[in-house]
Amino acid sequence: MTDDLTAEILRNALCVAAEEASIVVVRSAYSTFIVEGADAAAAILDARGRLVAHSLSTALIQCASLRSALPYVLKAHPAETMAPGDVFVLNDVYQGGIHANDLLVFRPVFVDGAPAYFTGTLIHVADLSGLSAGGMASDATDVYLEGLQLPPVRIATADGLVDDLVRVLAANSRTPDKLVGDLRALIAGANVAARRLEEIIETHTPDGLARGVADYLAHTERRMREGLAALPAGTTHGEYRLDDGHRIQVAVTADGRGGVEVDFTGTDEQVPLPVNSGFSQTHGGVMYAIRCFVDPALPMNEGCFAPVKVTMPLGSLVHCTRPFPGGGRFGAVAAAEEAIFAALSEAGSGPAASGILQAFSISGVTRPWLHMSFDLGGAGARADHDGADATGALFGGGRNIVPQAEPIEARLPVRVERVELVPGSGGAGRHRGGRGTRTVIRMLEDARVDTRGDRLLRPPPGAAGGEPGRPGGYYRERADGTREPLGTKATRQPLAAGEALIVETSGGGGHGDPAGRGPEAVRRDAAEGRTA
């Protein structure tokens, strides 16, 4: 009983340490996107690179990135060369990173003179060079056009920041103050988690912590395997196409005893545009999709990764290689997830496809300012219920990651005129798809806009006779009210002061024949604005 209690206190203390790190990052960061959207990833890992715990709001793809990148940090900086107080940073998509603007920060925690654990934090920082401010240039034909590349390098020591490197980073940012502020926030988060971890080691002894971690991971793995053992043995297939027609193909093989293999062989080749996904991002997507088929209450740590083998062909859309860019990965990751859902669901019983995250950035022309954000599409309907509105992230998170209007207006020369659910945007069906949103942002100064969306040309299909969701899009509204489409992957489009950016997200697909929807539900749909 007492041992169990100790173990549970320890597990929770680890999660709380990660949680605290993420709160510290959000509280001390500078980018509006982070500080008003409360979206920072933080994790605790061990020196073997195993994920021990992560913070509540950590999106799984970010978590997977921290986990994937740590071995590369250790490869570049062997543990014996690390000193207490060292902090490392990287963003290299080929070493577990995501894209230039997502900085990963690691700090070792020492036991008996050697790094035994690492705390990691990750956010999308304000700007780090590249074709477009905010790092979302959809015309970046290689990784170098996405932004400054950072292999694992030391960014701080016990003496403080490595000033020379900070100067290089600042010199490569259109918003140097915000960039350095965000970097400090990441380090502050890693510092705080490291301090908590040191306290835990003090309380529980190094051996106690090591045992506790081992038990925790083993316990999670056991439960993960139990859950996966329920998948019928055999191989099933699924696929999903991106807006540009490229195809993600997957074969999922369950061995019936708790082991699963996810193989993307057959997926289209990578392209010289930011449509591909780095391997850590695909891996995160796989874990998300697979986790949807086991007990949702399982903790997320190495125990979940262990039973799932992932094969991602080098040079394919799901595993880009140098110099192919990976910044636009969420389309590919979400497609990989839909493909896995399809593979693991019996015909007709699986969910309809969802509208997904649609990113955009707005930057100043005459002075440097930057607003980067995204809206979420409607989730696909399921066989037994309607899709959720505007939460189709497909990697956790939801509206909490979208800033409110007031803080945006207080910080930036834009006016948010509208944020609303779009009636009728969810695909019709016996169960309706979730609604997408419409956001209207008026420029108060001349600006440039980048957009990055998918499932806009090929809207999320319905399932089992349900209709597709209404396709979203990006538009420019002229001062006279006329509306013209911007591309779904537009770059540096001029919007003059007085013009507005309109972002509409796609609705989720419907499930089942629309004729099967009961009259009572139809009445309610009209009353609640689900239908136009």
């Binding site: 510092n191 998300y288 979208v402 659910l421």
Partner: protein
């Protein structure tokens, strides 16, 4: 010194305590009257006045804790509310900031929660104020009239208004409120967000306003009725209501800012525990407050109850709801605690071969079977009686026969076990449920409860406290004098307190520079003066006696989250602002390990006004005639054992478990292996053996 009355209305019992000018305490425990809680309360008041021989006119203060606001929200029995916001933001409540966190994110069967106000009662008006507080588009009065018309047709009982940037300029909200109120029956509350929580962030401001509108009318009419009945009894004393963060509010304010009282009842127990611990040099405590219907656990570390600034109503997985992103957020400070719907009155039942306890409660009416008031279903109290842990309860004689019959019929029979075994199982399950609440505030937060002292409050707590402590390896249990009415006793000492804040954005550099900042500094001083005036008016404390503390929110320019830094008393000068900035730099370095001296900015002006209650310590209860100790068989670890039964009154010296210590409002079970002493404050401190 005048007489103070305090009352804690729970789901089953209403506790009333009176402290006289001589410092003597009188206590009454009456059954709660759910139809009109004022009724049971008045019974108790009459009883203590009679016992104390005090004239109603001598009562100088009446302090009240109530779970009314919580119940209204949890049971969704508030009034139908209309919500009005700026055109373009009609989906604000539906979109919310619903995080799909933890298990929700992986849940393919995730069902979105209903918005707190349906679209059919959500309205928008054309108008716009900018972030700087300037009017961009004047309020469209014609459209406002039309909205008012439609709201009137909807037949709502309250209206919540949240327009964009109203924290910077409330003019449109105020005018709209006027227009809407004019169309509604007189007295219908129309609540503007700028009056409830004038801070930036439209969604949280809207939900906070909405909950205020939802609960306010129920609270107002209750407090109005209560005031009337107290006056009819001859008590003209002001009524004060405990707020969620542990201070108390004047009744009028509790009605208009009802959202501040959401945790009124539960907070009282934690505050009482902190005070009891402080008196004994115990700074790390787990307060455990178990009544008839619910049990609450709160954590006190370093002498201070934890305060949360974002309470989530209806949040998941948190026993009262604090997990971010899963409920409707309310941005008012509240004592951090966990609540489980399980208490002495929780009904035990056989569910397809398994024993379950709760969540249904026998409440006050009909009450546990052993009360003999018509209840036939077995409760935790019935089980405790069968096991020999209880005597009478308050003024109620308990019938062990009725308890046994109820357990036999509904639990032991269906499960095919003996009545005693069934009773023991019910007791254990109740302990496990209490454990869940303690778990949330300690283990779940990575905090080891073992170094803490468990403080038992509420009628049922002493019977379960030591066993609960054993579950967590907690070695010390504090059972204060009159533990059965411990929360109400705590109210006697609650300070009248109110906090007022508003967004005030200004660079520290501008405030501290001699030339450019004079106007800005003046504006800050004016903001503070306004807040102070409002806070003192709230407390009706114009005549002095109130302690006012001022603080500012401060952050590095460009950040969104601020530290709260106190300002010294006296005029606001460049020097005081500079000192606050130094303090901010220091705290930032301490908290985040980063020594940074970048430009900082002020974000918020905040004022807290406190009228101290006068901290009198309760004297130890007068030693009464010591009853001859008896013995009684009680169920311990699988068998009945004959143990001493002691009376709490007059008890001194060492206590050795196993034994039972009874007093009118509760019964303390001291299991084998526990020893205790009675301190000079009349509290029993139990310690587990090695």
């Amino acid at each position: 010194m005048s007489v103070t009355l305090a009352s804690d209305v729970g789901g089953t019992f209403t506790d009333v305590v009176l402290i006289g000018g001589d410092g003597r305490v009188h206590v009454a425990k009456t059954l709660t009257t759910p139809g009109d809680p004022a009724e049971g309360l008045l019974h108790g008041v009459e009883q203590v006045l009679g016992d104390a021989g005090v004239a109603p006119g001598d009562v100088g203060r009446f302090v009240h804790a109530t779970t009314l606001a919580t119940n209204v929200i949890l049971e969704r029995t508030g009034v139908p509310v209309a919500f009005v916001t700026t055109e373009g933001f009609g989906s604000m409540l539906a979109l919310g900031r619903q995080a799909r966190v933890e298990e929700d994110r992986y849940d393919l069967a995730y069902v979105q929660p209903e918005p707190p106000v349906p679209l059919s009662r959500t309205f928008t008006v054309p108008e716009r104020i900018t972030a700087a507080g300037e009017v961009l588009h004047p309020l469209d009065e014609e459209a406002a009239q039309e909205v008012a018309e439609r709201i009137a047709r909807e037949g709502v009982a309250a209206v919540a208004i949240c327009l964009l940037h109203s924290y910077a300029n409330p003019a449109h909200e105020e005018r709209l409120a006027e227009i809407v109120a004019a169309r509604l029956p007189a007295g219908t509350p129309v609540v503007a967000s700028s009056a409830v929580w004038p801070e930036i962030g439209e969604y949280e401001r809207a939900t906070t306003t909405l909950m205020s509108a939802y609960v306010g009318p129920v609270m107002a009419s209750y407090l109005d009725r209560l005031g009337g009945r107290l006056r009819a009894l001859g008590i003209d004393a002001p009524v004060h209501v405990m707020e969620s963060a542990g201070g108390v509010l004047p009744a009028a304010l509790a009605a208009s800012r009802a959202v501040y009282t959401i945790e009124s009842g539960p907070a009282a127990g934690v505050v009482a525990a902190a005070r009891l611990g402080a008196r004994r040099g115990l700074a790390d405590l787990v307060s455990f407050d178990m009544g008839g219907t619910t049990a609450k656990a709160g954590l006190v570390r370093g002498g201070r109850p934890g305060i949360t600034h974002e309470f989530q109503v209806g949040g998941k997985g948190s026993f009262g709801g604090r997990r971010p992103g899963t409920g409707v957020p309310i941005k008012v400070p509240a004592i951090d605690l966990a609540e489980v719907g399980s208490g002495g009155g929780s009904i035990a039942w056989a569910d397809a071969g398994t024993l379950r306890v709760g969540p249904r409660s026998a409440g006050a009416d009909p009450g546990p079977a052993c009360y003999g008031r018509g209840g036939t279903l077995p409760t935790v109290t019935d089980a405790n009686l069968v096991l020999g842990y209880l005597d009478g309860f308050g003024g109620f004689a308990l019938s062990a026969d009725l308890a046994r019959a109820a357990i036999a019929e509904h639990v032991a029979g269906p499960l095919g076990v003996g009545v005693t075994e069934a009773a023991a199982a019910i007791h254990d399950i109740a302990n496990a449920q209490m454990g869940a609440a303690v778990h949330v505030v300690t283990v779940r937060r990575g905090i080891d409860p073992r170094g803490h002292t468990l403080v038992a409050l509420g009628g049922a707590a002493p019977t379960h406290a030591a066993r609960l402590a054993e579950r967590f390896g907690i070695g010390r249990v504090l059972v204060p004098a009159l533990a059965g009415v411990g929360s109400a006793l705590g109210l006697l000492h609650a300070d009248l307190a109110i906090e007022r804040a508003r967004t005030f954005l200004a660079p520290v550099g501008a405030l501290t520079s001699c030339s450019a900042g004079a106007g800005l500094l003046g504006a800050l001083a004016e903001a503070f003066a306004g807040l102070e005036r409002a806070a003192l008016a709230d407390l009706a404390a114009g005549g002095g006696g109130a302690a006012v503390t001022r603080s500012v929110g401060m952050r590095f320019a460009g950040q969104a989250h601020a530290f709260t830094v106190d300002l010294p008393p006296g005029p606001i000068t460049p020097g005081t602002v500079q000192r606050a900035a130094e303090e901010f730099y220091k705290r930032y370095h301490e908290s985040y390990g980063i020594d940074l001296r970048d430009p900082a900015e002020v974000t918020t002006a905040r004022v807290r006004a406190v009228l101290p209650a006068g901290a009198r310590d309760l004297p130890a209860p007068a030693p009464g005639p010591r009853a001859a100790p008896g013995t009684r068989p009680i169920w311990l670890d699988g068998a009945f054992r004959e143990v001493p039964v002691l009376t709490r009154a007059g008890l001194t010296g060492e206590i050795t478990g196993p034994c039972v210590i009874t007093e009118p409002q509760s019964s303390l079970l001291v299991p084998p292996g526990w020893r205790g002493t009675v301190d000079d404050g009349g509290a029993i401190l139990l310690e587990a053996g090695p």
